[in-house]
C-alpha cells in the first residue's frame, strides 16, 4: 500500500462492499491515488473492478471503510454527494449518452442545469471540448447518428465539461469495434498528458504499459497487486501470471 501523502487526491481505505443479494464484491480494498496520476485497474470478469470504480463517485455505496476525494469524506452524511460528483467525471462502457440531445446538447446539459451557466457560454465551451476530441463536424448529430467511437468521445467531452479533477473510465473501449478503439485511447492519452488524474478499468494492456503510472490487479474482490507498469508486467506473482496468461 502506498503511503498516505498530502498529494493523494483519492484515499480509499479498507473498503467492503456487500450487495443486497449477499454478493461480497469488495474485500478490504485500499488504494491511494495522487494528483495527476493515471492508475489502470485490470482483473478477470466479476473481480469487482467496476464496483470499486463506482464507489469512488458513490454510484455504489460502500458497506464499510472510508473514501476521501480531495479531502472530502464520501461516507460523511453531511457531504453533498452531488458536489463531489461534479469533481469526478465518469465514462461508461456503454457510453450512456442522452439520446434525446445532440452531441453538443449532451455536453452542455450539465453545465447549464447544475453549474447554472448561461446557455451561450456552456455551448461555447462545449464546442471547444468537442473540437478537442475531434468532433467539430458532428456537434449537431444525435447519438444515434454517431459511431461507437464518436459516441464515446462525446461522452468524454461531456464529463470534461464539468471541469472534473478526476476522471473514471470503466472499460471505455470494450463495447467498440476494434478499428475505433484507437481514437478513444488517443483522447485518453492526451488527457493523461494534460495532467488529469485518471482511474481506468481496461483490458488494453498496451494502454496500461504506455500511459499508466501504476497498474492494479484485482481478483475476487481483492486488490491483489499494484506496481509501476514495468515491474507489473515483469512480475512473477502467480495469480497475476495466471490472469495475464489468459488474456494475452
Amino acid at each position: 500500500m502506498t503511503n498516505m501523502t498530502d498529494k493523494s487526491i483519492i484515499q480509499a481505505r479498507n473498503i467492503e462492499k456487500i450487495y443486497p443479494n449477499g454478493c461480497h464484491a469488495l474485500k478490504n480494498v485500499s488504494l491511494d491515488i495522487n494528483r495527476g496520476e493515471v492508475v489502470v485497474i485490470i482483473g478477470p470478469s466479476g473481480s469487482g473492478k467496476s464496483t470499486f470504480l463506482r464507489t469512488l463517485n458513490q454510484l455504489e455505496t460502500i458497506s464499510d471503510g472510508t473514501i476521501h476525494i480531495d479531502e472530502v469524506s464520501l461516507t460523511d452524511r453531511k457531504t453533498n454527494i452531488n458536489k463531489v460528483r461534479e469533481e469526478v467525471g465518469m465514462v461508461f462502457q456503454s457510453f450512456n449518452l442522452f439520446p434525446h440531445k445532440t452531441a453538443l446538447g449532451n455536453v452542455a446539459l450539465s453545465p447549464i442545469k447544475v453549474k447554472k451557466k448561461p446557455r451561450t457560454v456552456a455551448e461555447q465551451e462545449g464546442r471547444e471540448l468537442l473540437k478537442k476530441v475531434g468532433l467539430a463536424e458532428r456537434m449537431n448529430n444525435y447519438p444515434s447518428h454517431l459511431s461507437g467511437g464518436q459516441q464515446q468521445r462525446v461522452a468524454i467531452a461531456r464529463a470534461l465539461a464539468m471541469h472534473p479533477k478526476i476522471m473514471l473510465f470503466d472499460e471505455p473501449t470494450s463495447a467498440l469495434d476494434p478499428e475505433m478503439v484507437g481514437e478513444v485511447l488517443d483522447v485518453m492519452k492526451s488527457l493523461a498528458s494534460d495532467g488529469m488524474t485518471m482511474v481506468v478499468v481496461t483490458h488494453e494492456m498496451g494502454f496500461a504499459r504506455e500511459v499508466a503510472d501504476r497498474v492494479v490487479f484485482m481478483e475476487e474482490g481483492e486488490l491483489v497487486f499494484e506496481e509501476s507498469p514495468e515491474r507489473f508486467f515483469s512480475s512473477d506473482n502467480p495469480r497475476l501470471q495466471r490472469f495475464l496468461g489468459q488474456v494475452l
Binding site: N57, L59, N82, K83, R85, E86, V88, G89, M90, F92, S94, N96, L97, F98, P99, H100, K101, T102, L109, S110, K113, V114, K115, Y142, P143, S144, A155, R158, A159, M162
Partner: protein, 315 residues
Amino acid sequence: MEKQSHLLLWKAVFVLIIIGLGFGIYAGSKSIDYTWRWERIPQYIINTEATTVRSPFDGTATIEKGNKLVVTSDYGDDPLVIKKFDNLLVSNGDLVFEGDPLVEVENWNIGPLTWGLVMTLQLSVVSLVFAVVIGLFAGLARISTNPALRYLSVTYIELIRGTPLLVQIFIFYFFIGTVLDLDRFTAGVAALSVFTGAYIAEIVRSGIQSISPGQMEAARSLGMNYVQAMVNVILPQAFKRTLPPMAGQFINLIKDSSLVSVISITDLTKAGREVVSSTFAPFEVWFAVALMYLVLTGALSWAIQRLEKRLSASD
C-alpha cells in the same frame, strides 16, 4: 410489380367492404318503419335568428351606395348608420317614426349540441391536465424507494382500476361532493381526473422503467440531483415512449367524459338526450353525436401523431 398489384387489390376489397356496409345500413334503415328527418339536426348544432332593428327617433331613411342605411333625425340627433344587415325593411327616402322597423339582422346562435361539445371539451381538457399531474406523481411514487409513497400509490391505482368509473362518479358527486360542497362540474372533473390519473400513473411507471438505468447513472455522475436527472434526462425520453399509450388514454378520457351526464352535467351526451326528446329523431341525433365525438378524438389523435413525428428527430 406483382406485390404492388396485390396491395391494390386488397385496397379495393377494403373499399368494397365499406361500401357494402354502408349499403347494409342504408337498406336496414329503409326496412324499418322510421322517417329520417336529417333536416331537423343542423339547427341544434348552429342556427340563425333574426332580430329587428328599430328606429330610435323620427327621421328620413336614405340608402347610400355600398348598401348603407342612414337615418337622419328630424330633431338634430346624430344620424343612425347601419352598415350590415340581412333584410332591408324601408326604401330610400322613406319617412320613419320612432320604433319603426328598419332592418333585420340574422344572428348566428350556437345550438345545444355544440354547447354540449364545448362542455365535453372543457371537461376533457381540465380533467386531462389534472390527470397528467396526478398520474405523473403517482407514477413516480410507484417506483420510489420510500415504502410509504410506494404503497400509497399502489393502493390508489388498485382502488381506482378495480371499480367502475360510473360508480366513482356517483361517489364523487354524492359523497365527496356533499362533504366538500363541490358543484357538479368540479365533482365530474375530479372523478374523471382521479380515474384517468391511475391509468396514466401506470403508463408513466412503465415509461420510466423502460429507460436504461445507465441514463440515470450518467446524469447523476455529472452532478445532477435526482429531480434534475428526472426532469432533464429520464422524463423527456419516457415522454416520447409513452406518447402512443398516452394518446389512447386521452381518447378514452374524452369518451369516458360522457358518463358524467349521469350527474346532470350537460355534456355532448346529455345534450344529445335532450335534443332527442325535443326532435323525436333519435337515430339522427345519436349519429350526429357520434360524429362530433369522432371529430374531437380524431383531432387529438392527429395532433399527437404530429408531435410524435416531431420528436422522432433524434431516432
